[in-house]
Symmetry: C2
Subunit: 336 residues, 2 copies
Amino acid sequence: MNNQQVLLRKRPVGRPTADDFEIVDSPMPAVADGGVLRRTIYLSLDPYMRGRMSDGPSYATPVALGQPMVGHTVSQVLDSRNPAFKPGDFVAGYDGWQEYGLSNGVGLRVLDRSAAPISTAVGTLGMPGMTAYVGLLDIGQPKPDETVVVSAASGAVGSVVGQIARIKGCRAVGVAGSAAKCDYVINELGFDACVNYKEQDFLSQLRAACPQGVDIYFENVGGAVFAAVLKLLNVNARIPLCGMIADYNATDTPPGPGLRPLLVKRALIKGFIVFDHNDRAAAFLRDCTTWLREGKLKYREDIVDGLDRAPAALLKLFDGENFGKLLVRVSPDPTR
Amino acid sequence: MNNQQVLLRKRPVGRPTADDFEIVDSPMPAVADGGVLRRTIYLSLDPYMRGRMSDGPSYATPVALGQPMVGHTVSQVLDSRNPAFKPGDFVAGYDGWQEYGLSNGVGLRVLDRSAAPISTAVGTLGMPGMTAYVGLLDIGQPKPDETVVVSAASGAVGSVVGQIARIKGCRAVGVAGSAAKCDYVINELGFDACVNYKEQDFLSQLRAACPQGVDIYFENVGGAVFAAVLKLLNVNARIPLCGMIADYNATDTPPGPGLRPLLVKRALIKGFIVFDHNDRAAAFLRDCTTWLREGKLKYREDIVDGLDRAPAALLKLFDGENFGKLLVRVSPDPTR
C-alpha cells in the first residue's frame, strides 16, 4: 500500500500551474509507539496556500521543495498506538496533501460526528469559520444596526462573516463575483444585499446597498473592491484585513488605494492571522456549533474528488471559480 | 483703525496660489457686552488648512468663499466686557487669518507666560503637540526599546513624536527632507537617527537606521516614505495615520502602496483627528509642559513676519521648505 502525496516541485512565479506540483506514491509510514495513523477524507483548499508556495517574506515558513503541500484535513484513524485516539475516530488535523498522515497526535482534534458533519471541521467550524469569528467580532466589534460589508461573500470565510453580522443585528452586505453567488448569499445565507463586483456600475450598486455607509469592511480580496469600499466608509469604520487574494499571484507588489479616506474617517485597518488568536478557539467552537445547529449558520461546499485533482482545484480559488467552501475528497466519507 | 484679513477667494485645484487669497482691510469689530477683543500675535500655519480650502468630503466644514481663512492663534486681549478676560491677557484661540479677533470668549485659553513662551500654545503645547501626544501614546502605544519612525521629523508634530518616543524609552528614527533637517533632528532633538527621503538610497538608509525593524510608524506624509516603511514593519506594528501632506494638493486620489505587508505583519493603521481626543487635553498639557520645562521637549520655530505673507508661507509647508513650526507673526510679541 502506498501513500499518494502531492509535492511542491517548484516555486511559481505569478499564477501557479500544474507543473509546480508533482504527484508521487510514497511508502506507507510505519506506526511506532505513541503514533496515530489516519486516512485523509477531506483536504481543505484555502487561499493562504499560495503564500506557502513562495519563499518571500510571510508569517509562516514556506513549504520546502520536494515536500508535500500543507493543508487542513479531516481524517479517520486507522491505527493508533496512542491512548488518546482509537481506530475509527474522526479527527481534524493538518496533514497536508496526502492520503495518509502519521504523527504523535499533537494538534489533532477528535470530532463528534453527531454534533456537525465532519467536513465542517475544516470549514464553518474550522480555520475559515474561526477567521470570520475573530476578525468580525474582535477586530470589527460590530454593534447593532451597523453595516458590515464582506468580500468573497459566498466563500468559506465571507459566508460566516455575513451570517454572524446578521446574528449580531447588523446589516450584512456581500460582494461576490457572479449573479448566482449573489443570489445564494441573499436567498440562502440571508444577507441583506449582495453586489457583483464584475458589474460595470459596481460602485453605485454598492452605494445603494449601503444607504447608511459602511461601518465594517471585512477584507478578503484587496484590489478594486477595497478601493470602492473606501469611498463609503463611515467615521470610525473598522477594516479587519484577512486576505488580499487579488494580489496573491502578483509578481510585484501591486499599488493599493490612496489611504486618505482612512484619515478623514478616522478608520482602522488591522491585519490579522487566525493562529494568533487561539485563546478564542473555545468560544468560537461553542458559539458557531450552536449557531450551526440552530440553522443560523449555513454553508455550501464545493467538493472535488481525488487528491490528484487538488492542484487544478486550488487554481479555482484564485479565479473565483469555486462556489462555497472548496474541499478535496481524498477518500470516501463514511458518515455520508 | 482697520482689521486686516486674508480671505479665501477661490478654491484651488491642485496646488494653491497667491491668487486663491485676497487681502482686505475690514472695519474693526465693535465690542458688545460679554465680548473679548484681541490682537493676533501669532498665526499658526498647518497642513490641515489645505483641506479647508476645498469643498470635497472632509471631517470639517470648508472655509466659505469670501471668508477669512481659519487658523489657531496666540493673541493679546485689547478690550474685554467679559469677566473671564482682562486687557493684556495672552490667549490661545482660533481667530484665523486676521489682525483682530472678537468673540464671547468661548474656546479661548488664557496663557501663563511664565510657564512657557506664548508661541508654544500653537506649537509644542498646542494642536500640533497634542496631535503627536495622542497619536503616539494612545494609538501607537510605545513600549520601551521599540523603534518609532516618524516622517516630517523636524516639523511641529514630528519633532514632538520623536522626543516623546525617546522619553518613553524607544529608539526614535526621523525622516526629513534635507541634510540640515536631519542634522537638527539628531543633534538638537536627540533622535537616534534621521534619514533624508530625498537620497537615492533612502530605503537602505532607513533599513540601516532601524536594525530591529519598525514597531510604530507615525505617518505625516504618505507617498513614497509610507511605501518604504511598510517594507520594514515588525509583527504587530502600529501606524497612527495623522496626515498625508504629499497627497493634499493632488487633484485625483493618488494610489497608495499595496497593503499586503499589513496582513503579513498583523499591523494596524488608525486614522485620527486630534479634536476627537479632547478628553486627553489635560494630560497632554500637564505632561508636555513638564517635559518642556525639563528641557526634554525642544522645538524650533520658522517665523514669517506679516499677515500679508501668510499665503506664500503656507505654500512652504507643501514644499517642505519650512524648518520647524511655521508661524506668522502678525503683530510684535511683547513677551520677547
